[in-house]
């Protein structure tokens, strides 16, 4: 078991490194001059040259990459162009907000999607209401849904505060937006795996034991559907980190998604690559945790290939 984890961590490190390379190339190739976004349009060419010199922007790309990689390996993600502070501290400052949002959205997803899937699995007839809601959510872009919720529950009937900040009350609307987006996927997975579980013979054994319906579902069925659901959670982390970009922009939630788009617009390369690395590391660790969780819940998973 420990060997398997070690292999996974090694592979994870490789993935993060590959992501660093990919992101560095991506943002290096994006047209635009970071010096201009630092010094502003009225700066004279001499000032721009001076800034480019200080930030070593005119070095050949491979020396920039080499310099960057060596500093990353020592854990120093460089300093942000736009506000002169170490990228790592900037990200760590904003990370808890995004983590809280992702966690809350995951809870909303699991609860909504789970209950919905279970309800549909336990009812013999397929309900058309849920199918239409399913389609509606699948096709609604995040920002339209977010803005509608903001307008409805933040402004028209001011149930939730819309004055920005990162308190629990402000967390509700963004978490619901993200959660709603993901719940159809969870509902489908829960419904299918539950339906398969309910028609398998170990449930018949449970029925023949005379167990109550609730006990059968909670004791026997839920643990069996945990494995496919945890796989989905693993895949979902990456989705969160991109859905978060829109939601944080609309609800002014101070997370790394917002910082990422700002860094991209300002061509703040160290901050941009920094956020991507942290995001990639989050995805990799999340997948590892999910795998461990899954093999804890479902012994069959433990025997599968890593």
């Amino acid at each position: 078991m420990a060997r398997r984890i070690a292999v996974r961590i090694l592979l994870g490190a490789f993935t993060v490194l590959a992501v660093v390379l990919l992101t560095f190339v991506l943002q290096y190739v994006v047209p635009g001059d970071p010096a201009r976004s630092i010094a502003g349009p009225k700066a004279t060419p001499e000032v721009l040259k001076e800034i480019r010199g200080q930030l070593r922007l005119d070095d050949p790309w491979w020396s920039q990459l080499g310099h960057y990689l060596s500093s990353v390996l020592q854990g120093d993600l460089g300093t942000s162009y736009s506000n002169d502070r170490p990228v790592l501290s900037l990200i760590l400052e904003r990370l808890p907000a995004t983590a809280a949002l992702a966690a809350a959205a995951l809870v909303v997803e699991l609860v909504l999607g789970g209950l919905w899937g279970m309800w549909e699995a336990l009812r013999p007839k397929r309900s058309w209401l849920l199918a239409t809601v399913n389609v509606g959510l699948l096709s609604m872009p995040v920002f339209s849904l977010g803005f509608l919720l903001l307008l409805l529950f933040g402004y028209q009937l001011p149930i939730f505060p819309i004055d920005g900040g990162s308190g629990p009350a402000q967390l509700v609307l963004p978490a619901i937006t993200l959660g709603l987006m993901g719940s159809p996927y969870y509902a489908n997975v829960v419904r299918d795996s539950m339906r398969e579980a309910l028609s398998s013979s170990y449930v018949r054994t449970a029925v023949s034991k005379g167990l109550s319906r609730r006990r059968i579902v909670s004791r026997h069925v839920l643990r069996n559907i945990a494995s496919p659901v945890t796989t989905l959670i693993g895949m979902d982390v990456a989705v969160f980190l991109s859905g978060v970009v829109f939601v944080e922009k609309i609800f002014a939630w101070p997370g790394i998604g917002q910082m990422q788009t700002e860094a991209f617009a300002d061509l703040d390369r160290p901050l941009l690559t920094g956020t991507v690395i942290v995001a990639a590391a989050l995805v990799v660790t999340a997948n590892l945790l999910v795998d461990l969780l899954r093999s804890a819940i479902d012994p069959r998973a433990a025997s599968e290939a890593p």
Partner: protein, 557 residues
């Protein structure tokens, strides 16, 4: 409002391409133009120079201003986006002079009186006001100004404003690391500062009003180091007490030793950023926020124009000294012929075009902004005359004309480009639109690519001379399209050396006439600024050169 909403970074917003400074504008409404009368509150002494009428002033209150982005820096030598500019101009630092009433020129602020100018108009002697202290309590001396201005010239700091100080004797040597001290800059005693220019410059008086010319405490700059850009120490009406980048908020409290006794009136000022425009509009109309720092962007401006009641309660329209035009690439042979440029100028229907910016620019066919003080215009603006355009094109012998129009994602240009495309098509000129990200757009235009692109330019130094020297003279910093007009260059140099503002403006009128007739650019609009503030604020004043004046407003909840 059509056109993809602007990318999150609004740093570029009101810089609109060329004008690094904030939206420069005259406070159109409110109080009489005369210098501030003593307020009803006895204990409020004289007010800092600026617009507004303080009768019925009341103390106390907490003001919240919303911004879309974090400030570039609160260090006056570094910050240039609107958020930083307002903080360094009226909140944290007090420059030597500040624009007085709505239409008047600079009035003494941190300085005791207007500068004594030598006969050859090259030496300025500035008497400093006594009793001006830094937030840490230390008195300000002339030596502080010498140190601050030398710091701006320091190549290590790479401040964007360094180029403005090169007019002072010896400044270029410091800028090129050849000298440590600026020859033309001397502190005669603790309260007099003498500046010697290499040649007379009518703009220098306005330069003394800029935030980067305000004194900075040497010991604090060195103590705080990089932190200075977030929690600076200055001489302004407010000092910063908390900078929280995690919750994206900054808190300012009144400066206890502020030399205009009794102001500011409110207790605390809070800046909040990271708030997108639609949410800003909701927060304002929901009463959660008192001022929108960047005013109304076109997409939100439409929201308020749609509802007259909302417009009346929240919107504070303010004319701005800024002009909007389409730069033509003079390197392209077909665009070298002035008749082609004039044809394009006649082909534009400015009425239809500026409707797309929802009140943020008025249709206008001349080079300089519509409202200029102490200026008598002689140029005749272009109007919409497609037949004349077609005639000019035939006269210039141009058949099918295909031009590439570049634009970034910044409102309202993506939309205007589409309207222009249709208007030019009606005179036989085919425009292809080339949309790109904002940073790619700036890089492309600075390299002189593309044929046409939109430009907005605001005047901060109180004279149209700034517009010409930045965009239209041959050696202008932002003249990327190779426009050379000897007559314009000569007149501009003369205007700069003119003895008085009126004389300088008379010469500038000729420059505008030349630029307009030569159609150096296709002039389409004169810019406005729609400030957005809560109806509870009293005596809310705003000027483009500085942003909102928080030292004179009060709250009546």
């Amino acid at each position: 409002m059509a056109g993809p909403p602007p990318l999150p970074s609004r740093r570029h917003l009101l810089t609109f391409g060329a004008a690094g400074a904030a939206a420069a504008f005259l406070s159109g409404c409110g109080g009489p133009g005369s210098p501030p009368r003593p307020g009803a509150l006895a204990h409020v002494g004289a007010w800092a120079p600026g617009p507004g009428d303080q009768s019925g002033a009341r103390r106390g209150g907490h003001i919240i201003t919303a911004w879309s982005n974090e400030a570039q820096s609160y260090d006056p030598a570094i910050g240039w986006d609107l958020h930083s500019w307002e903080a360094i101009s009226t909140v944290l630092h007090a420059p030597l002079y500040q624009y007085a009433g709505p239409a008047d020129g600079p009035a003494p602020h941190a300085a005791a009186a207007m500068p004594k100018v030598s006969a050859d108009r090259r030496t300025y002697t500035v008497p400093l006001r006594r009793g001006v202290r830094f937030h840490n309590g230390r008195r300000v001396t002339a030596q502080d100004y010498v140190w601050t201005w030398t710091r701006v010239l320091d190549p290590e700091l790479a401040s964007w404003a360094s180029s403005y100080l090169l007019g002072i004797e010896g400044a270029t040597e410091v800028y090129e690391k050849k000298a440590k001290k600026v020859r033309g800059l001397e502190a005669l005693d603790d309260h007099t500062l003498r500046i010697r220019l290499s040649e007379p410059d009518i703009l220098f008086q306005a330069l003394l009003c800029q935030p980067y010319m305000a004194a900075l405490p040497k010991e604090e700059v060195e103590r705080l180091g990089a932190g200075f850009s977030r929690t600076p120490v200055g001489t302004g009406p407010f000092r910063i007490t908390r900078y929280d980048s995690k919750r994206q908020r900054a808190l300012f409290r009144p400066h206890d030793h502020y030399f205009w006794r009794g102001t500011p009136l409110i207790d605390t000022l809070e800046y909040r950023w990271g708030i997108d425009y639609p949410l800003q509009a909701l927060q304002l109309s929901g009463g959660k926020v008192d001022v929108l720092g960047e005013g109304l962007v076109p997409s939100q401006a439409a929201r308020f124009t749609a509802d007259p009641e909302m417009r009346e309660r929240f919107v504070h329209p303010v004319p701005v000294r800024g002009s909007q035009w389409i730069t033509t690439n003079h390197k392209r042979p077909v665009l070298k012929d002035p008749r082609v440029r004039q044809a394009l100028s006649w082909a534009v229907d400015r009425e239809q075009l500026t409707r797309v910016s929802f009140g943020l620019s008025d249709p206008w066919g001349c080079a300089f902004p519509k409202h200029l003080d102490r200026y008598r215009r002689t140029a005749r603006p272009y109007t919409h005359d497609p037949d004349r355009a077609r005639a000019l094109l035939k006269e210039a012998g141009v058949g099918r004309l295909r031009l590439r129009f570049l634009h970034g994602t910044q409102d309202p240009w993506p939309l205007m480009a589409q309207v222009l495309q249709q208007q030019f098509a009606s005179v036989g000129v085919e425009i292809t639109l080339d949309a790109m990200s904002e940073s790619a757009f700036e890089l492309a235009t600075s390299k002189g690519e593309g044929d046409l692109y939109g430009t907005d330019m605001y005047i901060v130094l109180d004279s149209a001379l700034e517009l010409v020297t930045t965009c239209f003279t041959s050696d202008a910093a932002q003249n990327y399209t190779g426009y050379h007009n000897k007559r314009v260059d000569a007149l501009t140099a003369k205007a700069r050396k003119a003895p008085t503002v009126e004389a300088s403006n008379a010469i500038l009128a000729e420059v505008e006439k030349e630029l307009t007739e030569d159609a150096a650019g296709i002039y389409i609009g004169s810019l406005n600024f729609l400030a957005a503030r809560s109806p509870d604020l009293r005596n809310y004043q705003m000027r483009g050169e500085t942003g909102s004046y928080y030292d004179r407003l009060w709250v009546k909840r």
